[in-house]
Symmetry: C2
Subunit: 328 residues, 2 copies
């Protein structure tokens, strides 16, 4: 099968690429070709066991999606988006990339029109939900996003479901928890500290904690995220009954529980590197974010996390990103 | 104040126009100018107490919304849409008119950019919900439309809420129940029979009932619909807390209860004109429609219906459309 990854240069895209190269199949189907696309050129792996091509373009420009879909990929992972902060700062750009980009993709698939019906796995976000929340956000809770990014993801979910219902494609939308521990450098995303306070101390670096320890949030490891994508690619679509957009399982933990987990795994010397520097702006932003979910539906459909506790999340990070070593 | 009605030539648009001409104000603000727009030329009333202008164009063509918004109307009723059946039959047309049209309107408002911030009242639909349903659809139930029309309305709701949250406009989206009794001729809409079985017998004509009498549905009179629009135009937007899209109150009644109401108001001779002709296609379509709502939120915000029973709906129809007379 021919697999296309949109947004292949991002963190999830690179990890998904690595997983596909390793497994060489999705479910029972062998991968014959992999196409990577992003706005910046994705790296192509050396010694791949199947043909890998890469291209870079602005996917939200008319005609770009058609070019990618002309080869009729069987499996499309649509991870391309601009992030929350940028979509909030630039309204037009957010709608152009996050909404129009998705729409161009769906319409390009429709235009083929010869019975072509690919699986499209779309990464949505828990940002489709907006406070106030119930104790745990259930599978039938309404979407009232409080960011333009969340709005654009919610609109994409709806359109994907409509095109899927009409038989144009097989859509599955998965709302990823905040990915923790996110590898790489600290970034300016308001959510960055959830990962920074684990990753940086393990590297021997100080990290800043801008909120209080009782802040609760919804996490999953990068390994879980890739597992969700792989499962969404093979799930029996008829079991979804047109309700194709699903909140993924995760862990609801407080910042205090994150730090306690880090301490159990890596010791007090490591957690000492976390510096409390309260930031009212970040506190206010984070107070509008989901804290906990009831993901019964996704679980009953076979979506599972790679971790059971936050300690596991710390251990997976050390294993997957640090070759088993950290600065004690 | 300057009022703009988009979709002014439709049934709701004409009734809203008549109401504005009669009241000459919305809340405490006097109407100084009324602009009517539709894809076909709306009728302009003779002897209007304020300036009324009308125009016709395809609102979903780039540039058309800008022309209408250039005059900076203070109050915009956005009723323009193609209906469910047409949006399902012509996918591109549905997205163009129901989604792009709404987006062009919102972006035209944004482009003014001098502090202009009109109230925008958007008519959404209970078609944003899709079966299976709880006994009564509550204010926090999720939107999983099973038609492209419902999808486009749900996407419009989201975008309206985002632009409202960002301070570009004051948005209120109202999900109207099925309007019953809909005046005019029988049409081919799958929902047409809910009105046909009341209106046609009162005119001395036979009507066809394609479903069984235990089919339950959600109704409001045309007079209620206009009342919802008027209330949405004046409601304190800050009370909505960014959750600006609301299911409107209505009556949940079975077809059997509709017929019993008609019989109580108009007699057995009238209900004898209803002919049972089961239609499997219509039955299947209707089985996916909402049957009942819990509209606590709208009620607490002051939205009220003009009727308390289905008998009232029949009486309102005789009063508003038949000058008090029917064919007994």
């Amino acid at each position: 099968m021919h697999v296309l990854i949109l947004g292949a240069a991002g963190m999830i895209g690179r990890k998904l690429t690595a997983r596909l190269l390793k497994e060489q199949r999705i479910g029972s189907r062998e991968i014959s070709k992999l196409t990577l696309h992003d706005v910046v050129m994705p790296q192509t792996p050396a010694n791949a066991p199947f043909s890998v091509s890469a291209s870079a373009s602005d996917f939200s420009m008319p005609g770009e999606a058609e070019k990618l879909i002309a080869a009729k990929p069987d499996m499309i992972f649509h991870l391309a988006a601009i992030v929350s902060g940028e979509a909030e700062a630039d309204l037009d750009k957010g709608y152009r990339i996050n909404l129009d980009g998705t729409r161009f993709l769906l319409d390009a698939i429709k235009k083929i029109g010869d019975g072509y019906k690919p699986r499209v796995v779309f990464t949505s976000s828990i940002a489709v939900f907006g406070a106030p929340f119930p104790d745990a956000i259930g599978d039938e809770f309404f979407e009232t996003p409080l960011t333009s990014y969340g709005t654009q993801k919610a609109m994409g979910e709806l359109m994907l479901a409509d095109y899927s219902r009409r038989g144009i494609l097989e859509g599955v939308g998965i709302r990823l928890p905040t990915i923790c521990v996110r590898p790489g450098k600290p970034n300016k995303a308001a959510s960055g500290f959830f990962s920074n306070i684990i990753r940086e101390p393990l590297n021997g670096e100080d990290a800043t904690l801008p909120v209080s320890e009782d802040v609760r949030h919804w996490h999953a490891s990068p390994r879980s995220a890739i597992g969700f994508l792989m499962h969404a690619a093979t799930i029996d679509i008829t079991k979804l009954n047109n309700r194709i957009n699903l909140s993924m399982p995760g862990l609801s933990v407080t910042v205090g529980e994150q730090i306690a987990g880090l301490e159990r795994v890596a010791g007090k010397n490591v957690t000492k590197r976390i510096r409390r520097e309260p930031d009212q702006t970040i506190m206010r932003i984070v107070s509008g974010w989901p804290r906990n979910f009831d993901t019964s539906r996704a679980k009953s459909l076979g979506f599972t996390t790679a971790e059971e506790t936050f300690d596991d999340i710390v251990k997976l990070h050390i294993e997957d990103e640090l070759q088993g070593n950290f600065v004690a």
